[in-house]
Symmetry: C2
Subunit: 438 residues, 2 copies
């Protein structure tokens, strides 16, 4: 009687990669981590499970519905849906042990039970940095963030990209002037979706909020302010909106753009975009989005902003901060779909050592010496015909095979085969090393 | 009215580290990954959430009670409790896309709702390697595993360690000879706990299984076989147990020990220990445990073994394999408790750049140039007195501070302060680089 087998298909909305893809995924993750470290961010790694009340303190609406929650023993638990809420809890808990401004990065999995759809994942890595001040945090930090985005995406080498920047105070002040402050969050949420829904739907949405036609036109006029960064700032000032928050926002944006250039961001890579609001309501100043040029449909690949108070649900201390997040799985998926990733070998191994003789001594000795030189090396251990072994190396795209037969065992050399060119030569150990020297 | 704040204490049984500790934790994790890669293992990263039926197919007894399970929508889900079951599902699912022998490593979080106790964690990283054969896998692979353990722990540099090795076939054959095969798993589970419970409790446990006194004595005699590896093999052979499984086990063990030396494991680092059985019932041949010399109470820090059939619940294909696992959080906790870890800086930053003047140009330019040379650099951006800034560098243990004041701005040099020695000198950019050249 045959036992029924259990289905092995991975869950819908959960990414699972083959080794060749996983290697590229991991390289991207590593590059992001190294880039964050280069800017002086320290790593933290908080649990994936949190008390439900900790997560629900900040979540609301859509997010709350998406949370994976459960009980274990007496505890109401949930899986984190981002890395910011755990950061807020962490900073509140370990406040006295941390040094401020606290610059931390975190790369970890988060969970959102969204309706599965192409390119959206229920489990995904977020790669976050945040700079948290104790009581205050200078506005100059807002200008450093674009330089970190710039260095990181330059290094990731996915092609040209543009950092779009705005300031929530400009939007807040503007809506106050229109007498629409109470509706500001709803309006911003609509503006935030502009790229997706288009101008017509935006107009309809605004009308649905009982906003008068002339004010809708002013909103449209405002978000269509055009020109280069300097011109946009000039036009914003020319609106002559005598609102303190608005004026502060314009000043902050002007300063942040100016200082970003000082921080090394080329002018062509940073652009004021007054339509950017970021849905989450905790941003209070500068907001960022990042787009790959020619692939804008992917959406923002790195977003974030400034917030006044990170951890108000957990502590009385005022902890302003600024940060960004990269959603890695969606980015990876879209890059792959758009042909922007190259997949190579299915293993990091550089040399496969094959012994044609029973005695493995020389093969194993060679492998150990190569590994000591940091060259990933596998010794093929199964009994198999040489053709099958070459096919193994070929399928995994291992670039070199060293063959050790009777002659090599007696002689003081190895036979090295370049699997790309097919070229085969007799070499010494030092000559093998030379192949990997560059 | 003051709003009530939510408790920020992390959940009991969940490890959470401060940055200085996290950096050391991450270094260990990285070293393990690089070591696995050097031996030709490819990375995979499966979801933390699995369908409950996939996990429950293999779990039983204690493990099943410890599983975090929940429903989301129509799905019965659970958090993985190890990396082996997800590997089995993965190999069954992607069989046609993989190349065999499939050598994979995985480093990821797993979940077990154990009663929280000192040094035991409900969320912890496992670092696993497995070599999976299609249909068969040569016994020589069992000898490579100790060489990987050896290279990995040598590189981790926690001090002297010993790899203990046994073969389940020896135990199985032995118990068959005693007519105790039906009780073999229970007996092995008892033997597996020998280190923890002691000989007296073992005897009591065996008596509770209705085993006669003379057979208990034979079991004790057997697990007390002493001497060096060669002597132990000799004594095993001298038992003259005419049981095929037993004889095969002795042969495999003898060969594996012999070949381990060939693979570069020093004789003093590998030792036959006939009391090792490993609780999990899927091991069918060689089993491994690893102990830090002088810290044996920590328990095994790296364990594993050979199994006949990885994925029998998911596929008809026979997939034998051999693998090991390092439980990272328990290891880290115990190393820390035993004073075997040194904690240094709370950030990887090597240089803090401090501007005493308003113009940040020279500071930012320097930072960018240093980062291009892969030197993690932070520019201190807050307005603060120099004393406070040095205290910031001091607390984070950033080794060097570069000060740029009026003189440095005009002159073609920087002032570099060594935070360890207190020494201060005027240097050029190239001289700064030289400090980090070694």
């Amino acid at each position: 009687m045959k036992k029924n087998k259990i289905s092995t298909q991975s869950l819908s909305g959960f990414m699972e990669l083959l080794p060749a893809e996983q290697i590229v995924f991991n390289v991207i993750k590593e590059k992001i981590a190294r880039s964050f470290e280069k800017f002086g961010f320290a790593p933290i790694d908080t649990p994936i499970i949190e008390k439900a009340e900790v997560l629900l303190a900040k979540a609301g609406g859509e997010t709350e519905k998406q949370i994976y929650s459960f009980t274990k023993g007496d505890n109401d638990l949930a899986l984190r849906f981002d890395l910011t809420v755990p950061l807020a809890r962490y900073v509140a808990e370990y406040f006295n042990d941390l040094v401020f401004p606290f610059r931390r990065y975190a790369i970890g999995k988060v969970y959102r039970g969204e309706r599965p759809q192409k390119g959206r994942f229920r489990e995904f890595y977020q790669c976050d940095i945040d700079i948290i001040g104790d009581g205050e945090l200078s506005i100059i930090n807002d200008a450093e963030i674009p330089s970190i985005i710039y260095a990181t995406f330059k290094n990731l080498d996915f092609g040209d990209f543009i950092i779009k920047i705005n300031n929530r105070k400009i939007l807040n002040g503007f809506f106050t002037e229109l007498g629409l402050l109470e509706k500001a969050i709803e309006i911003m949420n609509l503006i935030d979706k502009l790229e997706k829904i288009g101008l017509e739907e935006l107009e309809k949405g605004l009308a649905d909020l009982d906003i008068e036609k002339d004010k809708i036109n002013k909103i449209k006029e405002f978000i269509n302010i055009s020109g280069d960064n300097k011109e946009k700032i000039k036009k914003l000032k020319n609106l002559e909106i005598k609102n303190e928050i608005f004026e502060q926002g314009v000043k902050e944006l002007e300063e942040t753009i100016k200082n970003s250039l000082l921080f090394g961001v080329p002018e062509k890579n940073i652009e004021i975009d007054l339509s950017i609001a970021r849905g989450l309501d905790y941003y209070t100043g500068t907001v960022y989005e990042t787009f790959l040029v020619g692939h804008e449909k992917i959406g923002s690949v790195c977003s974030g902003g400034r917030y006044d108070n990170l951890a108000e649900n957990y502590t009385d201390r005022k902890l302003p901060g600024v940060g960004i997040s990269i959603g890695l799985n969606r980015l990876f998926y879209q890059l792959k779909e758009n042909g922007l990733l190259k997949f190579g070998p299915a293993v990091q191994t550089k040399i496969l050592v094959v012994s044609l003789v029973e005695e493995l001594d020389k093969s194993l000795e060679l492998a150990t010496k190569l590994r000591e030189k940091n060259i990933p090396t596998e010794v093929y251990l199964e009994k198999a015909k040489i053709k099958k072994i070459f096919s193994y190396a070929d399928k995994l795209k291992i670039p070199f095979v060293v063959v050790i037969g009777e002659d090599e065992l007696r002689g003081n050399y190895y036979t090295l085969k370049n699997m790309t060119t097919g070229e085969q030569q007799q070499v010494s150990f030092d000559e093998i090393l030379k192949v990997f020297a560059n």
